[in-house]
């Protein structure tokens, strides 16, 4: 494919179309380098997620302990030489020795993630593995942050151990996982410890079937895999179940991503080929019938207007709607959060429930932000599709004025080929959720910061001495009321802050989406316009030639077109 892209690039340069050559160069770079596909490892805590990653990547960088849990998402990517960094508002390099401390949250430093770059074949093949904090614990704001990660992940490993079948909360989380990331595998860990793991695997498969989820279940033993690595024992490695997991990751994740990239490159090639062919077709048409000049001139005139066509309107309106909807959605969610929070506060004395309440607020805020992000991503994808459709329609209309080419079949490749279904996919290929929500994973980091409240001291000693019993009771009630009011205020301040951060990030994403779509289609419009102009010029030139020369020219063009067709097929 790379060879074909560069061959087509040479033809484009030869035809004086540097813009198209540039497009092909871009396509080649994307095809070659790709981006890493993120694989999020998710599940409840203490199921062996970090151990799984350590075993998978032959490392011990993810801290594993009977008691301590992963507190920060950890991203493992390919990198040579190995390095580690703490990601907050900017990246700070850290020592490998300190990695564990940061991941378990003992360093006391505010951060959103830890990024580790190591030299592993699996990562080099285009994988980025993300270790996430487990869900289901007392501070389960984590779960919602994890869900946000999933929106941008290419695949997910849902980890559950062989000690027991899936529980109701696990299944709920799994459902939400699959919603956000359809390519999910269920990994059954700790098969070395539980003799009945096959039964558990069957039970889980049964649960999945009943839920209508068709996910592969992969039983593994991280312990065996690590032992196999230490002894270089292939048989033991096979026993660990990991080869199947690696295989799935390679075929289902890496290869699929590569295939997607290839398809995107092919679409780009087809687009460019169509542009190049247009001029040749025009010349051929003119060679047969000099009268077509007028049609091409008209088309050229109209194509210049494409840059400011109605697709711009669709984009403008769509972005405005999207921004308003996303903003409204966030407000609505946060308002609901305040209302529920106040109800909770009204039922209790905040001094006793404050810790739980904080955890609750953080969890709900994270959920609101994650759901809001999900809305943003789906809506942005919808909008992209709408704009692409409109653009395709307009581009197609351009050729409507052209007379049907009186040519033998096969030579007259109609232009709509480019703007058919594959064309839509082609525009959208470049426009993925990951790009809209670029940084969306970090989007929520700011939500973590929580409030602490200094409660008014309990009934002071003075009151104890001087007040009568009834007064004391009234005073106590008053203090509870006061604490409620104080907690309510704190809640509103916190939600306000969350709203500010999430709102800012989501507005940023909306702007990025708009810019991305506008640039993408404006460039294409320019390219189409140039093609139309080139075709017009060619037609005029050919029309000015004598009959003999026209025939001659047509024969020469024939060979060129054959080459392009071959490349694009």
């Amino acid at each position: 494919m790379l060879a074909r892209l560069s061959a087509a690039g040479r033809i484009a340069t030869g035809a004086g179309r540097a813009d198209l050559a540039e497009r092909l160069r871009h396509a080649a770079t994307r095809l070659e380098q790709g981006g890493d596909v993120a694989v999020a490892v998710v599940g409840e805590f203490k199921q062996g997620k970090s151990t799984l990653i350590n075993a998978l990547l032959r490392t011990d960088l993810c801290p594993v302990d009977a008691d301590i849990v992963t507190a920060l998402p950890t991203i493992l990517r390919f990198g040579r030489p190995p390095s580690a960094a703490l990601i907050a508002d900017h990246e700070t390099p850290i020592e490998f020795g300190d990695v564990a401390k940061h991941i378990t949250g003992d360093s006391g430093q505010e951060a959103r993630a830890v990024e580790i770059r190591i030299d592993r074949r699996l990562l080099g093949a285009g994988l980025a593995v993300v270790d996430t904090p487990g869900v289901g614990g007392l501070d389960s704001a984590q779960g919602n942050l994890t869900l946000a990660t999933l929106t941008t992940a290419g695949a997910a490993l849902f980890v559950t151990d062989a000690a027991q079948e899936l529980t109701a909360p696990e299944v709920e989380f799994l459902r939400r996982t699959v919603e956000r990331c359809p390519r999910t595998f269920l990994v059954l860990t700790k098969t070395d410890l539980h003799v009945e793991w096959r039964r558990i695997a069957e039970l889980n498969q049964g649960h999945l079937r009943r839920l209508g989820l068709d996910l592969p279940v992969v039983p593994v033993s991280s312990f065996l895999r690590m032992r196999a690595q230490a002894r270089d024992d292939t048989a033991l490695n096979a026993e660990s179940g990991f080869p199947r997991l690696v295989d799935l990751l390679r075929t289902e994740v890496i290869d699929t991503a590569a295939a997607d990239r290839l398809a995107a490159a092919r679409d780009e090639l087809a687009f460019v080929a169509a542009q190049l062919r247009e001029r040749l077709d025009a010349e051929a048409a003119a060679a047969l019938d000099p009268q077509v000049t007028a049609g091409y001139a008209e088309r050229s005139r109209r194509s210049a207007a494409l840059q400011h066509g109605t697709w711009q309107v669709v984009l403008q309106d769509g972005i405005q709607d999207l921004a308003a909807d996303v903003d409204h959605d966030l407000r609505e969610r946060l308002r609901l959060l305040i209302r529920q929070g106040e109800e909770l506060l009204a039922e209790s004395d905040p001094r006793q429930t404050w810790q739980d309440f904080q955890a609750w607020a953080a969890r709900e805020a994270a959920r609101a932000a994650a759901d809001n992000l999900m809305l943003l991503v789906t809506r942005a994808e919808q909008l992209a599709a709408e704009v692409a459709e409109r653009f395709g329609m307009e581009a197609h209309d351009l050729s409507a004025t052209l007379p049907a080419l009186p040519m033998s079949a096969g030579k007259a490749r109609p232009i709509e080929l480019t703007f058919g279904k594959s064309g839509m996919a082609q525009f959208l290929g470049a426009f993925t959720a990951a790009r809209v929500a670029y940084g969306g994973f970090y989007l929520l980091g700011a939500v973590g910061a929580l409030f602490s409240v200094a409660w008014a001291a309990p009934l002071g000693l003075l009151a104890g001495v001087t007040l009568g019993r009834r007064l004391v009771k009234a005073e106590k009630e008053r203090q509870v009321q006061q604490r409620r009011a104080q907690a309510g205020q704190e809640l509103r301040r916190y939600v306000d802050e969350v709203g500010f951060h999430v709102g800012r990030d989501s507005r940023e994403s909306v702007r990025r989406t708009q810019r991305l779509l506008r640039d993408e289609f404006a460039t294409r419009a320019r390219e189409l316009a140039r093609s139309a102009q080139a075709a017009e010029a060619a037609v005029r030139e050919v029309a000015a030639l004598g009959e003999q020369e026209r025939q001659h020219r047509a024969a020469a063009l024939h060979e060129q077109r054959r080459r392009i067709d071959r490349l694009a097929s």
Binding site: L138, Q164, L166, L193, V195, W197, R227, Q352, D356, L461
Partner: protein, 465 residues
């Protein structure tokens, strides 16, 4: 007249006045052993723990979800099973014992059965009736609902042993509901168990130490302390195996231990390998778990144990079940009277119109009995409603009976300490606090109650003397 006698008298009156079925039951319940429910998420090891506590393989266990009906295990003259239906009728059911486990022939769909009662001649069950419950957070929602309804809505259990594998949000919600329902929540009738402790940290031989660490952290977690003040790590499988180990199983383990070391390592590497090709070994594995097999092999190999009895004792010792029994007897049985009275009075409140003389009687008992005062204070102390310096809080917790109701436990004395002297010292100290002008009102009330506790201990001493 002591608390239980007064409650009995009051309930007798109430029964005579109303003939209410629930009150009759409540009255009968006062003379029965304390009811302790074992609850937790599905597959937390509830049935296994129950077997370990009774010391007999009774409740059926399985790799998949197993217990689907609330089952009572109570002392009785002989083995018998009664099935109580939704409509309140009871019928005797035939049962078979499969490897010791009681397999009950329900004879009808499980939905119609409200609960099962298994009578077993057992001295242990004479101290408390154990109730096995279906797991919460099960995928079959109605199964989970049964436990919630049973424990939280009906106030059927006087106390609960709650099994955690790791602390999940759902566990806390359940415990909160337990404290909220059943008439006035306190943290004094819940005991936490970190179950399947042998599996923590990959069944390595140091698993129990790791489990100890985890349990300690839970014990100090403020949110959990409010709900259940102690968390004991227990390897239920080990405990059950320790109680029921057979000679044949010991021989099997001894055979394994007699092999060359490299062989053993390979064989014990995974559960699969150990179970491969031998049905006997597979059975053994489901009985004692991988950790149990590893531990036993090591014990036999190192000559620490030489026979089945020795191994059984060693397994029991390491399972943590003994410690759990101690905790149960200190926290629950030591308080059985007040817990039972509390349940009975709650039923009384529920069935009688407020303001009636009988309800007033209940209120009087509740307000007057020092046991209740202690219970309430203990709860306030633990929930953080009563703020004290840490060392003073620990002392107060102990004096109020937080770690056991005996005089020595309350005073924190070793075996040979002088109870009278310590009690006098405590009495004087808390008396001072109660009268100190700088103490706030809450503290003074509490200190007065603690003083009274100390006086009670002294009085008991004098009677003995």
């Amino acid at each position: 007249m002591n608390l239980l006698a007064r409650t009995r008298a009051l309930l007798d009156q109430a029964v005579a006045a109303t003939a209410d079925q629930r009150l009759i039951q409540a009255r009968r319940r006062l003379d029965e052993p304390l009811r302790v429910a074992i609850a937790g998420k599905l597959k937390a090891g509830k049935s296994t723990l129950l077997n370990a506590l009774i010391g007999e393989e009774l409740a059926p266990t399985d790799a998949g979800e197993c217990t689907r009906i609330v089952t009572w295990y109570a002392d009785g003259p002989s083995y018998a099973v009664t099935s109580y239906l939704r409509d309140g009728t009871g019928e005797a059911r035939p049962f078979a014992r499969h490897d010791g486990a009681v397999r009950i022939d329900l004879g009808r769909p499980a939905e119609q059965v409200d609960r099962l009662e298994v009578r077993v001649p057992s001295a242990r069950l004479r101290r408390h009736t154990l109730i096995d419950t279906p797991g919460i957070e099960s995928l079959s929602a109605d199964v989970s609902a049964r436990t919630h309804t049973f424990v939280n809505d009906h106030g059927q259990a006087d106390a609960v042993i709650y099994l955690l594998r790791h602390l999940h949000g759902g566990d806390v919600r359940f415990l909160e509901a337990f404290h909220g329902g059943g008439g006035g929540g306190t943290s004094v009738n819940a005991v936490g168990v970190l179950s399947r402790a042998d599996e923590i940290g990959g069944c390595r031989l140091d698993a129990m130490t790791a489990a100890e660490r985890v349990a300690d952290r839970y014990t100090t977690d403020e949110r959990l302390r409010r709900l259940c003040p102690v968390v004991v790590p227990v390897a239920g499988l080990l405990g059950a195996a320790g109680a029921t180990l057979r000679e044949g199983e010991f021989r099997l383990l001894a055979q394994v231990a007699a092999r060359p070391m490299d062989d053993i390592v390979e064989l014990l590497l995974t559960a699969d390998r150990f179970a491969a090709g031998s049905e006997q070994r597979r059975r053994l594995l489901t009985r004692v778990g991988l950790f149990g097999v590893r531990l036993s092999t090591r014990l036999i190999r190192e000559g620490v144990v030489t026979d089945a009895a020795g191994l059984a004792a060693a397994l029991t010792e390491r399972s943590g079940i003994t410690r759990l029994r101690e905790v149960l007897s200190a926290h629950l049985e030591g308080r059985a009277e007040v817990l039972k009275a509390r349940s009975a009075l709650a039923t009384l409140d529920e069935r009688l119109p407020p303001g009636s003389p009988l309800a007033a009687g209940a209120e009087e008992i509740r307000a007057g009995a020092h046991e209740f005062v202690e219970l309430r204070l203990l709860h306030e102390l633990r929930s953080g409603r009563l703020t004290l310096a840490d060392d003073r809080r620990a002392e107060m917790d102990r004096l109020l009976g937080g770690s056991g109701g005996g005089a020595r436990e309350r005073l924190g004395l070793p075996e040979d300490g002088d109870v009278g002297e310590a009690a006098r010292a405590a009495q004087a100290k808390w008396q001072r606090l109660a009268e100190h002008p700088l103490s706030n009102r809450d503290l003074r009330t509490a200190a007065r109650a603690v003083t009274r506790t100390a006086e009670g201990i002294l009085a008991g001493q004098n009677q003995q003397g």
